[in-house]
Structure formats: structure tokens, C-alpha cells
């Protein structure tokens, strides 16, 4: 058993922290959010040049051979800065799918420019009725003479408006909830019949509802084998789940830190808030929630390459805990900030909103507890 970061991981962590401190003040962030794309393209290119975008990919794919621990290091530290750049949808989801299934040509055209920061690609798979079930897919792909015709509707496609290309899951055979029969396609965002309804999300991100109406795409849009997309989707969501859990741990640590600072400053009844024992004990509980989450994160990162059952069990434990601790730390931090906690001006509320969306993303606590029970 070894609990230490490699020297490289330590450097990676330091460089992200430096970036967050120097380039990502709250005012900067607000500007990025208010821009059309909802994030800063310069940052994204910086991420590419620093190697963060290529981290999870093999050297053959143009990456840096990073493992789950590296993904954890990146996401936990991006989380502390409440970074809105699309690392999860583009790198952890679409990137992972491209690396798994892409042909040489597809990798050259899509994965490589994504890793260098030139191309943003998002993954459209949620549907209004699917909730957290990855095999629930009604969007249809029908074979045509020279390719496929896509028809359907996808919900909450993150950063779609800033994406050059979308990866879309569609049913090519089977029934609504069958795992078998789902295929994955590369769809240029400008294709006729692709329409987006864009909106902001509560955590400062951008997302879109995607309508696909008689969208004609060429044969070489297919990623991997027909009907066999499910396990790749499942694996990509697993990696993204690890990623957002690490992000949540970064956020929770930061929220605890901000709450401690606030209570050490704010006075009521001629005492610092931090001197009230009832509040002290609640901050200890927040601290314990953080430590439990961190412990399961560390375990899960180490088990991502284990057998499927161990990995799935670790992920279910982790995401369940993040949902639980995210609610606890999130709500308590706001409460301990008092009235100031609910103002848009204070940072704490923005961390809270991101943490709150993470509770739902890729399945809430109940969903993962059920997963755990079924393993």
C-alpha cells in the first residue's frame, strides 16, 4: 500500500493551484461566465499546453498516460477554483469515448485537436425520460444509403454551444432500455437538422437542449461497432463520476475553509462566531464529512483499474457519500455564513451551487445506493 503522490503528480497539483490563484480570481471567473461561450478559450489552450487536457490519454493517442489518480489530482484542484472550463464533458466523456472507440482517422481528426485545445467536443446522451439510466435511449439512428439519419432529443448537453462536434448516442436496435443496440456517432454541430436551445445552468455553466430532426450524417460518423456503444458510455461516465467527485472534494474542502475563516471574523454578541461551541461542533462535523469523502475518493481512484465489481462498488460508495456530504457541507456552510451566505456577492454560494448540481450529476445518492445494493 502506498499513499503518496509521485513527484510529477505533486508538480501537476502545484501548477493547477498556481493557475487558480493567479489566473482565476472571482472577478475573472465572472467575466468568463458572462462571455458567450461561458468560459475562457485562452484558459482552455493553456490547459492544453500544460498537458492537463492530454493527461488521461495514452502516448499513442497523443496524451500523457495519466491514470485515475492524475484525473483526481486535476479535478480536485480545479474544483477548488470552481473552474468552468469544460474538462468533464470534453475530456473525460468525449475524450474517453474517442480514445476507446475512435479509428486512427477519427482520433487524428477529433481526439488530437481536442487534446491540444483546438476543438471542443461534447457528449449528448441524457434524454428527458432517461433520468440516470444510461441504457434508456429513444433517439434513433436509421441506416441510409450513404450513412445514417438521426432523429431524437437530448437534454442537458453541457457546453454544446461551444462545441465543434457532438458525440450522440442513438438506438440502432432493441427496445428503449436495452443495453444492446445503442451506437455512438460523431455529429458536426453545423449539420442540418441539428438545433440547440441554449441556456445557463445554476452552477454557472452552459448547456443545451438538442433536437435532432432528420439529421443526415456520413458512414464514417459511427464510433466503434454498431449496437455496442453501451459499455463505452458506461466506462466514460464512470471516469467522469470519479472526476466530479474529486471536484466535489476540492469544493467541500474550500467551503470548509471559507466557513472557518468567516466564523473567525464575524462577531455576534461580542464574540467571534467561531467561539460558540454549538457552531464549533457543527464545523467539526463538516470536517469529518470532508475527510470521509476524501478517503472514499482516494480509495476509488486506486480501484478504478480493479475488476468491474470492485470498481463499481467503490464508485457507488463514493458518489453516495458525495451526495450525502455535499448536501451536509453545502447547506451547513450557507447556514453558518448567515444572511451573507445567500448573497450572490459572496463566493460561498457559488461553490454551493456547483456542489448541489454535482449531487445529481451521473446519479444521486439514492441511485448509487441502489447500485451498491445490487452489486
Amino acid at each position: 500500500m502506498d499513499f503518496s503522490l509521485t513527484e510529477e503528480q505533486q508538480l501537476l497539483q502545484d501548477s493547477i493551484n498556481q493557475f487558480v490563484e493567479r489566473e482565476y480570481t472571482f472577478d475573472d471567473r465572472k467575466k468568463f461566465l458572462d462571455s458567450e461561450k461561458g468560459f475562457n478559450e485562452e484558459n482552455w489552450k493553456t490547459f492544453g499546453s500544460l498537458g492537463w487536457l492530454g493527461m488521461p490519454f495514452s502516448e499513442e493517442d497523443g496524451g500523457y498516460n495519466g491514470g485515475p489518480v492524475d484525473v483526481m489530482v486535476i479535478m480536485e484542484n480545479l474544483g477548488k477554483g470552481l473552474i468552468v472550463e469544460p474538462y468533464v464533458p470534453s475530456i473525460l466523456l468525449s475524450g474517453k469515448i474517442l480514445a476507446d472507440l475512435g479509428s486512427d482517422e477519427q482520433k487524428t481528426n477529433y481526439l488530437h485537436p481536442m487534446i491540444s485545445g483546438e476543438k471542443i467536443i461534447t457528449f449528448a446522451y441524457i434524454e428527458p425520460q432517461s433520468r440516470f439510466n444510461l441504457s434508456d435511449c429513444l433517439t434513433k439512428a436509421t441506416a441510409s444509403d450513404d450513412g445514417f439519419i438521426l432523429d431524437g432529443y437530448k437534454a442537458l448537453v453541457h457546453n454544446a454551444s461551444a462545441s465543434d462536434t457532438l458525440i450522440v448516442s442513438a438506438r440502432t436496435s432493441g427496445n428503449q432500455c436495452d443495453e444492446k443496440g445503442i451506437s455512438l456517432f460523431l455529429v458536426d454541430a453545423n449539420t442540418k437538422g441539428v438545433s440547440l436551445r441554449n441556456y445557463s445552468t445554476i452552477d454557472g455553466g452552459k448547456a443545451s437542449e438538442l433536437t435532432l430532426e432528420n439529421v443526415s450524417i456520413p458512414k464514417n460518423s459511427l464510433l466503434g461497432a454498431m449496437d455496442e456503444g453501451f459499455s463505452t458510455i458506461d466506462n466514460a461516465i464512470d471516469l467522469a463520476t470519479l472526476g466530479i467527485c474529486a471536484e466535489a472534494v476540492g469544493i467541500m474542502g474550500k467551503m470548509n475553509e471559507m466557513t472557518l475563516e468567516y466564523t473567525k471574523t464575524r462577531e455576534q454578541f461580542e464574540q467571534k462566531l467561531s467561539q460558540f461551541q454549538a457552531l464549533q461542533h457543527r464545523m467539526v462535523d463538516n470536517f469529518m464529512h470532508y475527510e470521509q469523502s476524501k478517503s472514499l475518493l482516494v480509495m476509488c481512484a486506486a480501484k478504478m483499474n480493479d475488476n468491474t465489481e470492485d470498481k463499481k462498488k467503490a464508485l457507488a460508495s463514493l458518489k453516495y457519500q458525495i451526495g450525502l456530504s455535499g448536501k451536509h457541507i453545502g447547506e451547513e456552510s450557507i447556514q453558518l455564513h448567515g444572511g451573507m451566505g445567500v448573497t450572490d456577492e459572496m463566493h460561498i454560494g457559488h461553490y454551493f451551487k456547483r456542489l448541489t448540481t454535482i449531487r445529481t450529476l451521473y446519479g444521486n445518492s439514492d441511485y448509487h445506493l441502489s447500485n451498491y445494493a445490487s452489486l
Partner: protein, 413 residues
């Protein structure tokens, strides 16, 4: 000894013997229902049912409808426009209003400033203000909290110096709900800086149009402008706007806080919202079925419903004690805690229910617009509500303060 305290406070000389409505009560219930059916404007109802924020005009319209019927100032003395209803009738009335999802009226005039004025005010104040409150001609807001004094209300610093026949007011108030729409503000101000901090506080009525009053919005995490900072820069307020004596403000504040705590639980609305959530679970598809088949989720809903029932009967027991001659004392703090816990937990269950469709950021303008919403209609207001409702455990005396109050005044700690 504890026994005495607790039994005095909460055993209410007895035990609920009969929960059924009498024939008269049933007739009254029917009367209220019929009145609402015939008088609740359909355009307001539609907005309410779709979670579209109401305008000030909407709210005032409903206010006037109730006032015209004589059903506005339910708790006021009959001779001043009150209803003289029994607690059962009040209970029925509140439940019917909530079940019909009628607008929540601003409490600042009718429930807060009104009772202060008819209890402590001068004849002049009564004559001028009470009719205007009833008629909705003056909208009130509340000037209590200050940037430096949150839970520690008595540490407030806004100063009112008497100069001739005016007080010159300087300072700032915060968290002032809907000050941007208000005509008048009732304020706690410091008229004396020496002595115990509670003793130098006075209760002052201030016209918001007086020169030197400035309102600045505070945007909250749900993106709305509901609360404000209110600044006072050499604002001259006639001495006749003082309620009670100088230095009597803290007693009025305590009187008001206790009043505020009972209503704050919001039990009737909670019942309506919980029923609505049950209904929504049948509309949310999950696999072959709906969210209603999810035993884990439904079990949380059931637990909440039981907790709500417990809160409802705790409120009824408190009201019965009040009607038996008491007035809401420190034990009403328990209702504030229970009610706001329920409101927050329920708002979280709504978020959980709608899944990903809680994530689109719906501003007040989005909700009010004619454009179709992202996702199902019921999903859109859910996250703003969850975020906005973080406030309920903080305002009206934070739940930590309520626990301190119970510890001290009820448990004798």
C-alpha cells in the same frame, strides 16, 4: 420544576379530545371555498399554479379582495377590522387559502406593523395607518437587521437623534425584503447609546419618500432581487412617528418576533406543496414506470409527511393555548424551527424529484416569460426555490437563535 415550566408551556391544560369539525365549522369551510372559487382572479391563479412570480399589483389585488370581504386582518381585534374567528375557523381559513394556492400576502403591514400600531401606537398613528394597511394603500417593509447585527439584533447602530420635532436618522438596514416596492418602513433605531444595549432602542415609522432614504438591491444566490440595503443619510422623521416611548423598541421587537414565529411555519402551504410533489412523482418517468415506484424516494416523502403532521398538531396545540388566554411565547420558537426545516427539506425533495431538469438556471424573468420552459413546467421553479429557501432558517431569528431561546426560556438553561 422543569415539569412545571414545560407543562405550563406545552401541555396546554389538556389534551385534544375532538378533532372533528362541528356542523358550523363545516358550513364555514364551505363558505370559504365558495368565496375563493368565486373571487380568486383566474389570471392570478394561473400564474400561481405555474410558479410565475406575481407582480406587486397582483398581490395588492388579492389583498383588496380579502379586505373587501373583511377577511384580511384575521387576527386583529374585531372592532378594528378583525374577524373574531375561533382557532378552528382560522385553521380552516388558512388551509383553504393554501389549498387553493392563493397569493401569500406580505406580512409586514397586516401581521406586523398593524398589531404594533394598534397595541402600542398613538391615536393619531392608529387613525392614519390602520385603514391604509387594511386597504393596501401603504406597503410596509421591515428595518431590523443591520450589516453588523444579524442574529445579535440588539447590537444595532442606526442612530436617531432628536432635534426639535424630528429625529435625524443615520445608518443602514439590510435584508429588507421588497423595500424596492415599499412606501413605508418600520425601523428599530438607537435613540440612546449609553446603558444596556437593549434599552436605547426605539421603534420608528419612516416614509420611504423622505429625502435621504436610499434603497440598493442585494442579489441572492437564486439570482433574484428580493432583499435590499436601505441607507439613511440625515433622514428627518417627525417625532410623532415614534411608536410608544423612546427606549421601548426592544419590547416591541420581542412582541413582534413571537408573533412572527407562529406564522412562519407555513404549515398549510407545506401540505399543499407536499401533495403537489406526490402528484409530480406520477408524472416523472423512470424506466417503465414513474418516480412513484421508487420506494427509497417515496419513503423520504412519507417521513416528511409524518413530520409535517407532527408540526401541524404542535401548531394547533400552541394556538389552542393562545386562544385559552396566552399569547405566543418562547415555545413558538419550536414552530419556527420545525416549519423551516420542513420547508427546506421539501424544497430539496423537489430538486431530487426533477433530476437533471433542476439544473437550468431560471431567473424570475425566465419564469415570467411566455417562452416555453426547459423541461417540464413543474421543474423550472424548483431549484430557485431550493436556493431561495436557504434563507428561511436564517431570517426571523436564525434557527440557532431559536434554539438559544428555547434553551433559556423553556428549558431554563
Amino acid at each position: 420544576m422543569y415539569n412545571d415550566v414545560v407543562y405550563f408551556a406545552l401541555n396546554y391544560r389538556g389534551v385534544l379530545m375532538n378533532l372533528s369539525f362541528s356542523k358550523e365549522d363545516q358550513e364555514f369551510q364551505q363558505e370559504v371555498r365558495t368565496f375563493i372559487e368565486n373571487n380568486y382572479p383566474s389570471e392570478i391563479k394561473e400564474k400561481q399554479d405555474q410558479g410565475i412570480p406575481l407582480s406587486k399589483e397582483d398581490t395588492i389585488k388579492w389583498h383588496k379582495i380579502l379586505n373587501d370581504k373583511g377577511w384580511l386582518a384575521v387576527n386583529w381585534p374585531e372592532e378594528l377590522g378583525g374577524t373574531g374567528w375561533t382557532i378552528t375557523q382560522k385553521h380552516i381559513f388558512q388551509n383553504e387559502l393554501a389549498a387553493a394556492n392563493t397569493p401569500t400576502l406580505m406580512p409586514f403591514g397586516v401581521n406586523m406593523c398593524g398589531p404594533v400600531i394598534y397595541t402600542f401606537g398613538s391615536d393619531e398613528q392608529k387613525e392614519f395607518h390602520l385603514p391604509k394597511i387594511l386597504n393596501g394603500d401603504i406597503w410596509w417593509c421591515q428595518g431590523y437587521s443591520e450589516p453588523g447585527s444579524g442574529s445579535d439584533l440588539a447590537s444595532l447602530k442606526t442612530k436617531a437623534e432628536k432635534k426639535g420635532d424630528v429625529y435625524v436618522v443615520n445608518g443602514a438596514k439590510t435584508w429588507t425584503t421588497l423595500a424596492q416596492h415599499a412606501d413605508w418602513i418600520f425601523c428599530l433605531v438607537r435613540t440612546d447609546g449609553s446603558g444596556k444595549k437593549q434599552e436605547g432602542i426605539s421603534f420608528l415609522l419612516i416614509d420611504m419618500k423622505t429625502p435621504g432614504v436610499e434603497v440598493k438591491p442585494i442579489i441572492t444566490i437564486d439570482g433574484t432581487h428580493e432583499v435590499n440595503m436601505v441607507y439613511f443619510d440625515n433622514v428627518e422623521v417627525p417625532v410623532s412617528n415614534l411608536v410608544g416611548e423612546e427606549g421601548f423598541g426592544w419590547s416591541i421587537a420581542k412582541f413582534l418576533l413571537a408573533h412572527e414565529r407562529t406564522g412562519i411555519a407555513g404549515i398549510p402551504s407545506l401540505k399543499r406543496e407536499l401533495d403537489r410533489l406526490r402528484d409530480i412523482t406520477t408524472q416523472i418517468q423512470v424506466g417503465e414506470g414513474s418516480l412513484k415506484d421508487d420506494a427509497m424516494f417515496m419513503s423520504k416523502l412519507d417521513k416528511l409527511e409524518i413530520k409535517l403532521t407532527a408540526a401541524e398538531y404542535t401548531e394547533l396545540r400552541t394556538l389552542a393555548a393562545m386562544s385559552a388566554g396566552g399569547h405566543p411565547g418562547p415555545e413558538s420558537s419550536i414552530l419556527k424551527i420545525l416549519g423551516t426545516d420542513l420547508q427546506q427539506e421539501l424544497s430539496d425533495l423537489f430538486v431530487e424529484a426533477v433530476g437533471y431538469y433542476a439544473h437550468p438556471f431560471m431567473t424570475e424573468e425566465d419564469l415570467a416569460s411566455n417562452e416555453s420552459r426547459i423541461g417540464p413546467d413543474f421543474a423550472a421553479p424548483v431549484m430557485p426555490h431550493y436556493l431561495n429557501y436557504r434563507k428561511v432558517s436564517i431570517y426571523g431569528g436564525s434557527n440557532e437563535i431559536q434554539r438559544n431561546v428555547i434553551a433559556k426560556a423553556v428549558l431554563g438553561l
